[in-house]
Amino acid sequence: MRLKKIIIIYFFLFSSLCADENNLELNEIYKNLRCLICQGQSIADSNSDFASTVKLVVQDQIREGKSKEEIYDFLISKYGEWIVYQPALTKNNLLLWSLPYVVLILGGFVVFFIVRRKKA
């Protein structure tokens, strides 16, 4: 009897943990998808018809065992790079990706010169 109870509790705990993990993954995907008909909202934030349909398709693809990257690739093939908030590094968005590093390096130089000036 006690063993039965333990099995049941273990089963519920395990299934709720799995569900949480799946929800986390789904949420992560939704947050990286842009709602094309909303103003600055992700699929996760939007309750629009388009967002709810994309959510259904993403859920289906997760159930089919597709990876995050496969899902993004599928949606990019249908809607273009604009659908994802984090686009892949390409020739066209090289500046976008490199800008933070360029600013960091230049900022470092500025700080260096300010410090050197003050010392002198």
């Binding site: 809607y79 273009g80 130089f109």
Partner: protein, 173 residues
């Protein structure tokens, strides 16, 4: 005249940021469908709203051109484009029209077609709207013109008007 490196860096910074903001503001950030022209449609199977028949990409490959039109009985702009779809089905034998009924009730869709006429060679149902994602649709009415290889040659967002209708005729001649 001595110009310090510090001033040059600050100046370059300002110019650089102004340039980035200027280019960013000039760029159109609205989603447009031009980037999906040339993509191929694949892996779909839809069932008819009338019977148990289904349609897949293999059937569309037999057509010279196929216009895939998403419509619904509850969609007001779908009514305005309907006359162009009827004209197209009467005038151009090279273009077959696949109607996909989007998030609609079967009876309402059938009444809609009985009332306005049926321009479609096949009417499929997409009750949950999932199929629309496979065609890159994000609202209705929307239409996708594909060739026999199922390559997208035109995408029309919103109702088909006279201009779009003539463009379809020109592309399929």
């Amino acid at each position: 005249m001595k110009i310090s490196i510090f001033k040059i860096i600050i100046f370059s910074f300002v110019i650089f940021f102004l340039l980035v903001f200027w280019l960013g503001l000039k760029k159109n950030n609205n989603y447009d469908t031009n980037n999906i022209i040339g993509n191929k449609i694949s892996n779909f199977q839809l069932s008819s709203i009338y019977n148990n028949k289904s349609i897949s990409e293999e059937v569309l490959k037999k057509n010279k051109f196929t216009l895939i039109n998403f419509f619904a009985s509850w969609c007001a702009p779908c009514r305005t484009e309907h006359k162009y779809l009827l004209n197209l089905s009467n005038k151009n034998d090279d273009v077959k029209i696949l109607g996909i009924n989007f998030k609609d009730k079967k009876n309402n869709a059938i009444s809609f077609l009985n009332e306005l006429g049926n321009p479609y060679d096949f009417v499929a149902e997409d009750t949950e709207g999932k199929a629309s994602i496979f065609f890159g649709i994000y609202g209705i009415p929307e239409s996708v013109l594909v060739d026999s290889e199922l390559v997208i040659i035109k995408k029309i967002v919103g109702p088909i008007d006279l201009e779009q209708y003539e463009a379809i005729l020109q592309l399929t001649q």
